[in-house]
């Protein structure tokens, strides 16, 4: 069956990408973040004599290794600011606040953080501020809860510091979560709609006539859109397979089981799926199989033998 059909309504599904980044710290970063835990702010002195806060491991101008730590004040001056009327997830404060770059007294560079202020009219460049420490501190930039307005004299010559603390922090875990709304595009939307009707529908390349299952929208050989829909299968041939002996996390399938490449009848390439209904050590190349649909009928849960004689090698050798 070949038919050109208009694209159905786009499918959408929520997609969450979430990952904790575990990162080790260099000696300067370790001292700085451990210091925050102890309500101490450390900077690092460059060869030119400047004090960088937050401190870095290497001089941004000369690339020299930097190790000379100094302690700076917990008070400072706003060097630029931006009023954030609608805080976003993960940001330091949940109520409207100002983003600020603050040059702490004794430092020559500025640190980015949040400033808790009643409104934009209360903020200006040059405003004097101080650190508000988080109640619970673990050795992270978030140990500074935020800054708050605070009049104080500009004091403080940076004092030498050996950077040594008990139980230094040597790494951070930075959780990240991004929320997406996934939409699969025209070709895969058509494929998924057909699966819902227990049909497997590939798409034919108008140039080389190969039928792609599942279709991804383009023929990678010809670089053109696949548009003609072609129903394939339901039966197919195992072209190659492997025996899985290690149980995947959260997978409710007993090992060993067989995972196979299956060339559905009429398809120009094999897709992959699990083989069931036959002992794992009896699965072979050329085995004829058919889909067993999931309970909700949305996709083939696995494929089982049809009982037909095995396919001749010549019929599938081009699809390996």
């Amino acid at each position: 069956m070949t038919a050109v059909t208009p694209p159905p309504e786009a499918l959408r599904a929520p997609l969450v990408v979430e990952f904790p980044f575990t990162r080790s710290l260099g000696p300067v970063q370790s001292a700085f973040l451990t210091g925050l835990r102890e309500r101490t702010v450390l900077g690092v002195r460059t060869e030119a004599g400047e004090v960088l806060v937050p401190p870095v491991e290497y001089d941004p101008a000369t690339a020299a290794e930097l190790r000379e730590l100094v302690e700076v004040a917990t008070t400072g001056t706003v060097t630029t600011w931006a009023w954030n009327p609608e805080p976003r997830p993960g940001q330091p404060l949940a109520t409207p606040f100002a983003w600020v770059l603050v040059r702490l007294d004794g430092a020559d560079t500025a640190l980015l953080h949040a400033l808790d202020a009643p409104g934009p009219e209360a903020v200006r460049t040059g405003l004097r501020v101080r650190i508000r420490w988080a109640a619970e501190r673990a050795g992270a930039i978030t140990d500074i809860a935020c800054f708050e307005p605070h009049e104080s004299a500009r004091e403080h010559e940076p004092a030498p510091h050996d950077g040594r603390f008990d139980a230094p922090v040597t790494g951070i875990v930075a959780p990240a979560r991004l929320d997406y709304t996934y939409s699969p595009g025209r070709a895969q939307t058509r494929y998924l709609h057909a699966l819902g009707e227990r049909r497997t529908v590939g798409e034919r390349c108008p140039s080389c006539a190969k039928v792609y299952v599942p279709p991804r929208g383009a023929c990678p050989t010809c670089g053109v859109a696949t548009t003609d829909q072609v129903e394939v299968g339901p039966r197919g041939t195992v072209t190659t397979f492997c025996i899985v002996n290690i149980k995947a996390k959260n997978l409710d399938i007993e090992v060993p089981y067989v995972y196979a490449h299956i060339a559905l009848d009429g398809a120009g390439l094999a897709l992959h799926g699990r083989i069931g209904g036959i002992p794992y050590d009896q699965v072979r190349m050329g085995l004829r199989v058919e889909p067993v649909w999931s309970e909700d009928g949305r996709y083939p849960d696995h494929y089982r033998p049809t009982g037909e004689p095995d396919a001749d090698y010549d019929t599938y050798k081009e699809l390996l």
């Binding site: 937050p54 941004p60 630029t80 940001q91 983003w99 930075a174 025209r186 939307t189 929208g217 670089g223």
Partner: protein
């Protein structure tokens, strides 16, 4: 230093940039622009010596999406191919270098960005320093707003001047059928003060492609090739608090190395997603009123992230192709507050 081989942009195509493209996968979005540059030059995939693309999987949250986008090129049997995880302008840079080495005579460069599935303001926080910045989730508008306030404090601009940049850009975009925001519109409320909605780029999806060719091959493929006279890219220190946010020494140095200051340019396509960043770039590049800036409307009219920089090179080249410019500067940026900057100088030949 003048390169030994002459390389030109001989074709450029871009999609109509839209707020959402839920009906299209990446490859379905990219394919039409690939076909369009092939049509312009008459080249087939198999005729092209090198292919390079730029994109970021974080935008749509699809791992290795660029390998699937490659299906649209016709990459089998295997082609000579590369990918950069940044704006396509840097893919063009890689392709240019490849052509200069003599390993290829033609190159296809493309890039795409599908920002609509995610929240691009938040996604871009993941490119920041993971120790001191990323845990605070400072979004792209917030960081640009800090830069804008620094410019206001320094007396380099003010809100009416920023509003004028926004209005001019979108007014110019009325002549650009691909732009997402066409025609001036109200500045709106503060997104992050001092930046208003109008100072920020639209969020959307889009794709672009160019073809590069060397010497006489370029002259065969294009009536008036846009010759790349020089190109360079430079980066600032990564800590925002170390930088002077009101200036862009990396842009200036890249421009100097690209030869931009040897003779005046008549056109500049600047990749300034925020109005305030145009102020920084004009200052860094010393552009005066004689230079036509962003006749396409720039990134304020369409900002498909990862493609918007390549589009600046493409727009500048297309103006040369059409005979509307003889010498143009194209700029692309990546990262917060103009972190990394690329400058190219393009010229057309005046034939007798």
């Amino acid at each position: 230093m003048r390169p030994d081989r002459e390389v030109a942009i001989v074709a450029f195509a871009q999609s109509d940039h839209r707020r959402r493209t839920d009906d299209l996968s990446e490859v379905e979005m990219v394919m039409p622009v690939l076909h369009e540059v092939q049509r312009q030059t008459g080249l087939k995939a198999s005729d092209i010596g090198f292919t390079c693309s730029g994109s970021s999987d974080y935008l749509a949250g699809r791992a290795f999406s660029f390998t699937m986008a490659l299906d649209g090129v016709g990459a089998w049997p295997p082609i000579s191919e590369s990918h950069v995880e940044t704006d396509g302008a840097w893919a063009l840079y890689e392709a240019w270098v490849k052509l200069l080495t003599g390993e290829a005579d033609t190159a296809l460069v493309y890039s795409y960005g599908k920002a609509s599935p995610g929240s691009v303001r938040d996604v871009l926080t993941r490119q920041l320093d993971p120790y001191y910045l990323a845990p605070l989730w400072p979004d792209s508008v917030a960081l640009a707003a800090l830069q804008a306030q620094a410019l206001v404090d320094a007396g380099d601009t003010d809100e009416p001047a920023l509003a004028a940049i926004a209005a001019r850009s979108r007014q110019d975009a009325t002549a650009n059928p691909h732009a997402q925001l066409r025609g001036a519109r109200p500045q709106g409320d503060y997104t992050v003060q001092p930046l208003r909605t109008g100072d920020c780029p639209p969020i959307g999806d889009g794709a672009a492609a160019v073809i590069l060719a060397v010497g006489d091959r370029a002259r065969e493929l294009c009536e008036r090739p846009a010759w790349i006279r020089g190109m360079d890219h430079r980066i600032e220190a990564h800590s925002l608090g170390v930088r002077d946010l009101t200036d862009s020494p990396s842009t200036r140095l890249a421009a100097e190395r690209a030869g931009a200051f040897e003779r005046p340019v008549d056109t500049a396509e600047l990749h300034a997603p925020f109005t305030s960043q145009e102020v920084v770039l004009r200052k860094a590049l010393g552009l005066d009123g004689s230079v036509r800036v962003n006749p396409s409307g720039g990134a304020l009219a369409a900002n498909p992230v990862m493609a918007a920089g390549l589009i600046r090179l493409g727009e500048a080249a297309a103006r040369i192709h059409r005979g509307e410019s003889d010498r143009a500067l194209a700029h692309a940026t990546s990262g917060p507050c103009l972190q990394q900057n690329l400058v190219a100088v393009l010229e057309g030949e005046n034939r007798a």
